[in-house]
Structures are given as C-alpha cells and as structure tokens.
C-alpha cells in the first residue's frame, strides 16, 4: 500500500504517510497532530477524520490519554453576515 496515496483528511489532503511521520517525529496526541498537519481544520472541522486520526495514534503510541477533543463553536458553519440587522 502506498501510504502517500491514502487520504485520511479529505478537506486538507492529509495522507496516512503524513500522519505516521508526524507521530514518529514525536507529536503523539490528537491535538498536536491536528495542529501540525491541519487535519480537522478544514471545512468539515474534523467530522470526517478525527476518529481515524485518533485510531492511528492509539495504534502507534502506548498509553495515549484518550479524551474527546474540545468542541468549538459554532456547531455548524455560519455566514459572516448572520448577525447583521440588514440581513
């Protein structure tokens, strides 16, 4: 399997190879991998890939602290003009 052709985060085109290299380089938590590779920072905000990335980390790192990543508002994307009176 060519790991550079397996897309894990579809919004940001992050591959399995990127993620494994990132973990091997010492970033061993979901927060760190996300922040370095920008997976889960695209349009879907991690709804697609977070569980996959987490599974990849727990497969490689012993004793990772499992906890859900913090959920940040807004829950759904929102127009910049949503709060304007003239909209």
């Amino acid at each position: 399997m060519d790991k550079s052709k397996v897309i894990v985060c579809r919004c940001e085109d992050v591959t399995l190879k990127d993620i494994e290299e990132c973990i091997d380089a010492g970033l061993t938590s979901l927060e760190e991998v996300n922040r370095y590779l920008k997976c889960s920072m695209g349009t879907c905000q991690g709804r697609g890939c977070s569980a996959l990335v987490e599974a990849l980390i727990s497969g490689k790192v012993n004793g990772t602290k499992k906890r859900p990543p913090s959920i940040r508002p807004p829950l759904l994307p929102l127009d910049v003009s949503s709060f304007r009176d003239d909209e």
Binding site: G26, R35, T43, R72, P74, L78, V80, S82, F83
Partner: protein, 367 residues
C-alpha cells in the same frame, strides 16, 4: 527510570519555552527538560493570530522586534504582507503619526498612508470613515503552530527532553521543580508559562502585577487570495488577515475581566462578524468555521516582564505580543543565563520597574 536531575528546566511548551530552548542549545546548554502541562502550544501560542510587526509605540518593544525579526525572516513560511493600521478619527491618526515617528527614528520604515493608498494596498477594503493609516510592508505573520512544532523537532534533535501532560505544581528557591509525577533537581529554572507564570512566582516571593485577560478570535472557510496585509482598526482593536491557506483570521477586543477562563462567547461572534462584514463587505457570505479564545498576560504598561532570582529566570507579561517578541527575548535571556551577559534591555524590562517607578508604556495593543 525517570531521570530527576537536569541542568535546566523550562516550564511551558509554547513559543517562549521552545525559543529559549533553541537559544540555550545554540550556546551548548542542552541538558534541558521542557515541561508542558497539556499538549504542545496548548496555551496562548497555539491560540494567537501569529502577527509579526514592528509598529509599536514603545522603543523597548521596537528594539525587541529588531532582534526577533531576523529569526522570523529565516523561516520559510514567514509571509510579509505588511500591517495596515487604520484610523477613523483625527485623534487615532495623530497617535499613529507619533508612533511612526518613533519607529522611523529607530530605523523602522513605516509610512503614513491616505485612504486612497489604503485602497491600493487592500482593494477589497471598505475605506468609508477611514481618515488614514500607517503601513509597514515588512510586517507580516507566520503560523504559530508550525513555528512552535518545528522548534520542538529541532530542539529534540539537539538533545533537549520534552515532557507533555506533566504539570508543574510548585517551584522552590532550592531550585527544585515539583510536578504532578515527580520532583526534579536542577541548576536553572526558566518559567515561560505565559499567564501562568505570575502564580508560580508567588511561592518564591515575587509578586507581579500581571492579569490574565481573555481575547477571542475566529476563523472562516478558505477562499482565493485577496488580502495581503494584516488590517488593524485602532478603535475597538479589530484585526483581520488572510493566511496562506486562504482562511481569514480575525478578532476584536471584548474588554473581558481578568480570569483564566478561555470559553468562547456569542457576543464576540456577533460583534466580530458584524465588523468584519463592514470592513470587508465581500466576506458577508463567507462561513465562520470556528472560534476560540486565549489569554493575554497583561501588565499595566503592556511591555514584557523579565527577571531572575537565585537561578530562577522568567519571561512573561507580553500583553498580547508574546509570539512575536519571544524569539528575540530568548536570545537575550540565553546570553544572560549561559554567559552571564545581561543586555541593557533586560535591565529596562526587569520586573522591579513597577516598584521602582520605571514603568514603560505601549499604546499599540490589538485584539
């Protein structure tokens, strides 16, 4: 077995901790452990907008930025799109002019610009109500997470040890660091914990006037490149810039009261998006993807605070400018800690200035 002796311990895995570790390692001081209570860059570093500017009003900040700049200019992804600071009243315009003359005197080439020039610099900007601004094309931004994580990879290769999810509970005068799992003996302690620095210093008898103030920020979906500079409105501390990824990162001052709380508010989302859509009408239909908050470690004069007492060194009080000043300040601190050479700037930034009536004063605090 966990090793409990180190030549140096750095508390805080953000930009200050890693810049300092790099500066120390360059001076062959490498038997160092960095302690981070959460994940790397989980504090203010990973929450900031990443702006790098020399447009300050206080000469100490400008001097610090002159030391930091070459370090940022060596980074491949430092984007110098400029900072355009906008005035909507004569008073703000005059203040900008005053700042620019201080900057020019110190060799920083900021210029005053007319509303027409603002439009040329940023074609999508709504210049209604703008009386003018100051512009420095060398200012810019860099992704704070990439910078910090790259520093992490570098210091690890140089032999520095990094431990995450290990919280420092106490630092004592006997150069002992007590964490959630162990006690570590060391020769030098460096506290680089942002807003959490002042509370740690209390146990060694240093009381700083620092206050943690929440500042909020949001990011939109990506769109094609349309905005070069960081846009700053001097009233309400509004700023917006577009990253190389295409997203817009923007914030506005909410004047939150001192607290360690970093929760997001609906009031911010409403106020900031309203302002963004009037400054850049083209963004109206853009989607906001995420909002979050971080802490400014604020001191009365908004200039960094440093100090040393019996082998315990600290850097804090950045008042919102930590990411950009940390690399420069770390170089000075490393010279002090390793070679005993204390740069004159460290003297001026020393924490005793508050008690000795040597307060400085920075007016340009944004966000």
């Amino acid at each position: 077995m966990v090793e409990n002796k180190k030549e140096g311990v750095i508390i805080g895995g953000g930009i200050t901790g890693f810049s300092l570790a790099l500066s120390l390692a360059k001076r062959n001081f490498r038997d160092v452990l960095i302690l981070e209570k959460s994940y790397l860059a989980s504090g203010a570093t990973g929450r900031c907008a990443g702006g790098i500017r020399q447009q300050f009003s206080c000469s100490e900040n400008i001097e610090l930025m002159k030391i930091s700049y070459p370090i940022f200019e060596n980074m491949d992804d430092f984007v110098q799109g400029g900072y355009l600071m906008l005035a909507t009243s004569d008073e703000e315009f005059n203040a900008l002019e005053e700042n620019v003359s201080i900057q020019n005197e110190m060799g920083v080439k900021t210029e005053m610009v007319t509303p027409e020039q603002c439009e040329e610099i940023s074609p999508y900007l709504n210049t209604e109500g703008i009386v003018g601004g100051s512009y420095n094309r060398k200012d810019g931004y860099v992704d704070p997470l990439n910078v910090t994580y790259d520093m992490f990879f570098r210091v690890k290769k140089m032999g520095v040890e990094v431990s995450t999810h290990e919280e420092v509970l106490k630092v004592d005068d006997g150069l002992k660091v007590v964490t959630s799992n162990r006690e570590i003996e060391t020769e030098k302690i460096f506290i680089c914990a942002g807003a959490h620095t002042a509370p740690l210093l209390r146990s060694i008898g240093i009381n700083l006037p620092n206050q943690p103030i929440k500042h909020e920020i949001l990011v939109t979906e990506t769109l094609s490149h349309f905005l070069d500079p960081m846009i700053v409105m001097m009233n309400e501390g509004f700023y917006a810039h577009q990253t190389v990824r295409g997203e817009i990162i923007t914030g506005i001052d909410m004047r939150h009261s001192p607290s360690f709380d970093v929760s997001s508010t609906l009031e911010f989302l409403s106020k900031c998006t309203k302002r963004l859509s009037s400054v850049f009408p083209a963004t109206r239909k853009l989607k906001v993807l995420r909002q979050w908050a971080g802490l400014y470690d604020v001191v009365p004069d908004a200039v960094p605070v440093v100090g040393e007492k019996d082998g315990i060194y600290f850097m804090c009080g950045y008042s919102g400018h930590g990411f950009m000043v940390a690399p420069g300040l770390s170089e000075l601190m490393a010279d002090h800690a390793v070679y005993g050479r204390r740069h004159d700037l460290l003297q001026r930034l020393d924490y005793k200035r508050f008690k000795e009536g040597r307060e400085l004063g920075e007016r340009v605090v944004i966000g």
